[in-house]
C-alpha cells in the first residue's frame, strides 16, 4: 500500500478513485505510567511513554484505514491527513483519513 500526503503518487499514474477512507482509534492513558509523567511535569523533558503510545495508536489507525482501502480494491491512499482530538480528560482520538486510489 502506497501512502502519500500530496494529491498524487509521484512516478505513478492514478487509474481509479474510490473515495474517502478513514481509520480512528481512541486511547486512554495508563494511570501507572501517568505517575511518572506527573514527575516529569515538575522537571520538564520528554514523556517517552506518551510518545510511544501516540505513535503506536497512530499506526493502528493507519492499519484500519489501509484495511478499508484494501476492501475497496485500492492499492494506494493519497492526501493522507492526521487529526487528533481530546474527547475526555485523559483520552484522545487519533483519526487518519485519505483518498483511496488505484495506481498502475
Amino acid at each position: 500500500m502506497i501512502l502519500t500526503n500530496i494529491e498524487s503518487t509521484p512516478g505513478k499514474k492514478i487509474m481509479e478513485h474510490f473515495g474517502l477512507v478513514c481509520g480512528s482509534t481512541v486511547r486512554a492513558k495508563n494511570a501507572f505510567k501517568d505517575m511518572g509523567a506527573g514527575l516529569k511535569n515538575i522537571m520538564g523533558g520528554e514523556l517517552k511513554s506518551y510518545t510511544a503510545l501516540m505513535e503506536e495508536s497512530r499506526r493502528q489507525a493507519i492499519e484500519r484505514m489501509e484495511e478499508q482501502a484494501r476492501q475497496l480494491g485500492a492499492n494506494a491512499i493519497i492526501n493522507v491527513r492526521f487529526s487528533t482530538s481530546n474527547i475526555a480528560p485523559g483520552a484522545a482520538e487519533l483519526y487518519v483519513y485519505g483518498t483511496a486510489v488505484k495506481v498502475e
Binding site: 502519500t4 509521484p10 520538564g44 514523556l47 517517552k48
Partner: protein
C-alpha cells in the same frame, strides 16, 4: 507552612532541572539538525527537479514534551497581566523541531520530503504538548 515549603521546592527543582534538560535538548537538536541538512523537508507539493522517481513513502515523527513546574508558575503569572508567554514558546519549538528530526531519521536514504505538515495537540492540562510532523518522502532512481 508545609505547603509553602513544598511549593518552593517544586519551583526550585523545576527551575534547575528544567533549565538543564532544555539546554541539553537544544544542544542535541542543533547537532542533529546540522547532520540532516542534506535532506530538505519542504511544504510545497511539487518537485522542482524532473527526475525519475523510484518510490514514495509516508513518513512521520512525533514527540511529547512536558514543561517544568517553574514555567507553569511563570505562565500562570503571565496570565494575570497578559502578553507574550515565552516560557511556552520554547516548549512548542522543542517539540516541533524534535518531531521534524524524528521524521527525517525515519526517512533514511530519501532525497526530499514533500508537503511537510506539523500538527500539535495538548496531551494533559498540566502543560505537555505533542507535536506530529508528517510528509511524503521521495526516493529518486539511483
Amino acid at each position: 507552612m508545609l505547603d509553602l515549603i513544598f511549593l518552593v521546592i517544586m519551583i526550585g527543582v523545576g527551575y534547575f532541572a528544567g533549565t538543564r534538560v532544555e539546554k541539553k535538548h537544544y544542544k542535541s537538536i542543533e547537532e542533529r539538525e546540522a547532520k540532516f541538512i542534506y535532506l530538505p523537508a519542504v511544504s510545497s507539493k511539487n518537485l522542482l527537479e524532473d527526475r525519475p522517481i523510484d518510490s514514495t513513502l509516508l513518513v512521520q515523527g512525533n514527540a511529547v514534551i512536558a514543561t517544568d513546574y517553574f514555567k507553569v508558575i511563570l505562565a500562570g503569572l503571565r496570565n494575570l497581566l497578559g502578553g507574550e508567554v515565552s516560557a511556552y514558546e520554547s516548549l512548542l519549538d522543542r517539540a516541533r523541531r524534535e518531531a521534524v528530526l524524528r521524521l527525517k531519521e525515519s526517512a533514511q536514504g530519501a532525497d526530499i520530503i514533500l508537503n511537510l505538515r506539523i500538527e500539535t495537540c495538548q496531551i494533559s492540562t498540566a502543560g505537555s504538548t505533542e507535536a506530529l510532523a508528517y510528509g511524503t518522502a521521495v526516493y529518486y532512481k539511483k
